[in-house]
Amino acid sequence: MSEPLLSIENLSVRFFTYQGVVRALEGVSLHVEPGEVLGLVGETGCGKSVLARCVLRLVQDPPGRITGGRILFKGEDLLKASRKRLRQVRGNDISMIFQEPMTSLDPVFTVGNQMAEVVRLHQRVDRRTAAKICAGMLEQVRMPDPFAVLRKYPHELSGGMRQRVMIAMELSCNPALLVADEPTTALDVTVQAQVLAILDELTRKRGASVLFITHDLGVVAQLCNRATVMYAGRIVETAPVERLFDSPAHPYTKGLLEAVPTLEEDREELAAIPGMVPGLVEPPGGCRFHPRCGRVMPACSRRVPELFRVRPDHFVACHLYGAEA
């Protein structure tokens, strides 16, 4: 296997709040290969967005603090990088798309204004060339009449068009890694399908890698090569998507897949996971899923399960698997 593009090792993040210390991430490790789309799935509050923000060092300090671990991008530890170096990395090498395009675009500037700013910050070109580059980018995300769109304000565009503007902007500097945090969650299904197709095509063409964060298992199955499942601040399973959907190993992954209603099968009752996602101020000891798990054993509440390799590319953190199982 080639050198990973991004490698996160043993990352821990805590938020120091009045309610106590929130252990948002604990010992999280993952890597993204060049040209790969890695899906990061989990429910609200599992830490997937915090992880995404850590990659670009966007976690606000205080209250958040990265308390341990390394984030290696092309071998360079971003946690040790200077502010100046980070500014170079952001946008040029790694860029990010957020969930709500309306809040990531500035309402008082035109689309062209904002896009050209990005282009001119990273490339030395005059205004007119920048406008041409921007129009070209909009064309690539299949925006009809790109020059007219450049003169519009964000509120004049639909949700799908705004998200396409964001994608065009993020890809304008040819980043090697794109971090996408729920980019289609706010969109309708038909528009989501358009945006996913554009993302897929563009990343394929440019060979860029994507860290795709979502709670939608369907999107993961259709877009990603590999997927990592998170629960309550820890990684519970990582596998190629075909494998993950065919033979999930972790009880949480299994539960999640069975809890989703589908368009194909008729089930009178959905297999719901009992209970709810735990708070991260005082998370359950041992395996954090054990209070909700149907296959809980005495060891589960005592020891934290390590990630265990059940196959060369399939890792699970569960006491059902591993040396003593």
């Binding site: 068009m161 299904v189 719901a272």
Partner: protein, 327 residues
């Protein structure tokens, strides 16, 4: 059997710009002639993308909005024709559960009061009897008696939605509008709520209008499904029929666009955006995006074609079938 709630050709237009001396007047046609009925113990799923008017239909049934045309009938009676006590008694039978349990519960009211309030307002029970009823209702929705004294902020999203359901059902209504009841919830909790709603319906025979944008959720929760596009219902069928044999090009496109958890399959791409309901295209509303559109589609609005076993579709493609079926 007569339906519990029937909607006949209802219309709701919102003025968005009054214009100057009648010129430049703009109207948003949110609901533009919608008809359906919901039987006792049945769930009708109403699906569509944002802005198609599905929530407005729910609000019209609830009486939160006044229709500009058409009628909403409860057990054959027009609620708007009733006045005073009589109207209040009838309205008790139609309740609602909203999408966001956070903003639809009063943060300053303990759960006991929130759930007991409808009993008090309708003069059904007070004091100890109301408390008893609230406790029983909480138990039915999967909460514990100690939750009575909690406030909404002390509960999780799933628990809050259970409170929303308890509040709607405590007065024993016949019909409940569920407006995206699980959209704000995580999948593991969503499954709990969907199961709860089904069980409650089985036990008490409630009729539901299940409004949602999620096709898989609607498929799971409904007996019959109506698909809306720009203020009109384009297709209605039993759940089995609609998902196995979708007829309207819009229904097909919608189903093809859903990414499914399973083997990789290219998503069906429907071009363009939903047009603004201020500027509804002439003829068939879907024709500018429809892969099957012919010239006539931009001129005439298609009438609903009934294809037997309650499968109705509003599309020119199926118009000849209707004629052949006729004796």
């Amino acid at each position: 059997m007569s339906p519990v709630v029937e909607v006949r050709n209802v219309v709701k237009h919102f003025p968005v710009s009054r214009g100057f001396r009648g010129r430049g007047r703009k109207v948003l046609r949110a609901v533009d002639g919608v008809s359906f009925g919901v039987e006792k113990g049945e769930t009708l799923g109403l699906v569509g993308e944002s802005g198609c008017g599905k929530s407005t239909v729910g609000n019209l049934i609830l009486g939160l909005l006044k229709p500009d045309g058409g009628r909403v009938l409860y057990r054959g009676e027009d609620l708007r024709a009733l006045r005073g006590e009589e109207r209040k008694r009838m309205r008790r039978n139609i309740q609602v559960v909203f999408q966001d349990p956070q903003s639809s519960l009063d943060p300053r009211m303990p759960i006991k009061k929130t759930v007991g309030y409808p009993l008090e307002v309708n003069g059904l029970a007070k004091g100890a009897r109301a408390a008893e009823r609230v406790e029983a209702m909480l138990e039915e929705t999967g909460l514990r008696p100690e939750h009575m004294h909690r406030y909404p902020h002390e509960l999780s999203g799933g628990q809050r939605q259970r409170i929303g359901i308890a509040r709607a059902l405590v007065v024993d209504p016949e019909f409940v509008v569920l407006d995206e009841p699980t959209s704000a919830l995580d999948v593991s909790v969503q499954a709990q709520i969907l199961n709860l709603l089904k069980n409650l319906q089985k036990r008490h025979g409630f009729s539901f209008l299940f409004v949602s944008h999620d096709l898989a959720v609607v498929r799971h929760a409904s007996h019959r499904v109506a698909v809306m596009y720009l203020g009109r219902i384009v297709e209605t069928a039993s759940r089995e029929d609609l998902f196995r044999n979708p007829l309207h090009p819009y229904t097909r496109a919608l189903l093809a666009a859903v990414p499914r958890p399973g083997p990789k399959k290219p998503l069906g791409i429907l071009g363009g955006d939903v047009p603004s309901p201020v500027n509804i295209p002439p003829g068939c509303r879907f024709h500018p995006r429809c892969p099957e559109a012919v010239e006539a589609c931009s001129r005439e609005e298609p009438a609903e074609v009934e294809l037997g076993s309650g499968h109705g579709v509003s599309c020119r493609l199926y118009a000849p079938l209707q004629r052949r079926d006729m004796p």
